[in-house]
Amino acid sequence: MNSSIAVPISPNAKLNDQEMLRQSVISLSGVKKAFTSPSGESIPVIEDITLDIKQEEFISIVGPSGCGKSTMFNIIASLLEPSDGSITLRGRDPACGARIGYMLQRDLLFPWRTIIDNVCLGLEIQGVAKAKRYAMAREQLARYGLADFADQYPSTLSGGMRQRVALIRTLITDPDLILLDEPFSALDYQTRLVLEEEIVSILKEHHKTVVLITHDIGEAIAMSDRVAVMTQRPTSVKKIYDVGLSRELGSCLKARSDTRYQRYFDSIWDDLDIQISGAEQ
């Protein structure tokens, strides 16, 4: 299984050289996962994932629905144990290797906490003093245009706003590695484009390493340095594209209008081999 094939379309040689020098933040080698069904049989979900994610890299994961992408995130975040294989994390924290900011698939705001207290959750667990974490949270909320909602409860916010809050909550603890599981799925198209751009620039500015799961091929191409395409369940890495358009052109919007964008799109679409009806069970 060749998990990291050469770039099919116009590789950026210079970028690759730099990449070779960078340290990897996380490496998965031969990770497998099988769940046990209620009747006792083992259901393989992850066949084999071997993947090396470098510092400051933005990598997207695209794959068929239900193939095991969220499961892979749960394993990286050590919420699940792999059935086989190993994961190495490298980061500032000697205890756990790297501090991980995980934005789960749904926004998962705590309904009994106000917006500001939701944003502060990670800081609270880290033991940051109340005055300090509130100041940090207010600054971030203002940055995302949510300052007026700080003291409201999540139920009063729109889906898009809630997702933004969840995003702030993930970023505010300044993690080494950021896992985003379909963070923009509840947003309308325009908000999505604006937020894509913003996220990429914020993450670059702070030299963050990001793994993004998305169903939106265009989003993956527009934002990422690399796009990993997964196979059906039991999943493995089918292909990796060294895209890097947004980094090269300096903006996701420009990446979307580049000529290479459409070629990547078509190629990934073919890889995904999406069947409209009668998808295999």
Partner: protein, 278 residues
């Protein structure tokens, strides 16, 4: 195209009743008007029935008689004393039972094994009419206030425990996963997720428990007591003094309503995020 006929329909400001608040306020007034009229009608017909010998006041009591007894009992201070005794025992037993029960139910979250082991006992206790324990409890605690508190306690404890424990089971696993991914300890998961997420279940048990505590307390007073509304009703009933029975029953209804309103107010305070969702 055939010759079509055109209809016009204009929507003007104020033509659609969209102001919920205004509507509920006006319906609040008319609803209460109907209620008062209904009660008034029953009372008047009842009194007319008594005066025209259609209704036997010896078996049913009479509005005028009830009012007279109520006035007498208020003046002598007996009604107040009995009410205080009943409310005190009920509230103390209710609070102890509901609070300790809820805490125990929440703590069971920490140990699935314990929960599994005691589960059948809890179900059995929950099904048992607590008043069946009254003779025993009165033997142990005497016929005074203490046995009534104990009765209200047992009547509410198990309900609160089961409800809180059930609450801990309804929690979205992903919330706990999120906490763990942030490095939260088990204790933090408990205080920041499990306890607040179970609060709606706890509050609903409190609501139910008002009724259960009152039933147990009054039942205990019927069996053996030296004061209280239950005793007042029981004694008057034995003497066929139906008017006094009615005074006791009406007072009890008022007590129940007041307690219910208090719990609702506490709920509003404790569950601010659920306001406006109803």
């Amino acid at each position: 195209m055939s010759e079509a006929q055109f209809y016009t329909h204009t929507i003007r400001a104020g033509s659609i009743k969209e102001n919920d608040e205004q509507r509920t306020r006006s319906s609040f007034i008319t609803d209460n008007l109907w209620r008062v009229t209904g009660i008034g009608l029953v009372v008047v017909l009842w009194q007319i029935g008594v005066m025209t010998d259609w209704i036997n006041p010896f078996l049913m009591g009479s509005p005028v008689g009830i009012a007279g007894e109520a006035w007498r009992l208020i003046q002598s201070g007996q009604l107040l004393n009995d009410t205080i005794a009943t409310v005190y025992a009920t509230v103390v037993g209710f609070l102890l039972g509901s609070i300790l029960g809820s805490i125990s139910g929440l703590l069971l979250w920490f140990s699935r094994t314990t929960a599994r082991i005691i589960d059948p006992f809890m179900v059995a206790l929950n099904g048992l009419p607590k008043i069946a324990l009254a003779p025993m409890i009165i033997i142990w605690f005497g016929s005074g206030m203490l046995s009534k508190i104990a009765l209200a306690f047992v009547a509410t404890f198990v309900v609160a425990l089961l409800s809180a424990y059930q609450g801990t089971h309804q929690i979205d696993r992903n919330l706990i996963n999120l906490m763990r991914s942030m490095g939260a300890s088990r204790r933090e998961v408990f205080t920041k997720v499990v306890a607040p997420a179970s609060l709606p279940w706890i509050i609903s048990a409190f609501r139910l428990n008002i009724g259960f505590a009152l039933i147990a307390e009054i039942g205990g007073e019927f069996i053996s007591s030296d004061r209280g509304l239950g005793r007042m009703i029981f004694v008057a009933g034995n003497l066929f003094n139906l008017n006094v029975v009615w005074v006791g029953v009406i007072t009890l209804m008022i007590v129940a309503i007041v307690l219910y309103v208090i719990v609702s107010q506490v709920e509003k305070r404790l569950l601010p995020w659920e306001q406006g969702q109803r």
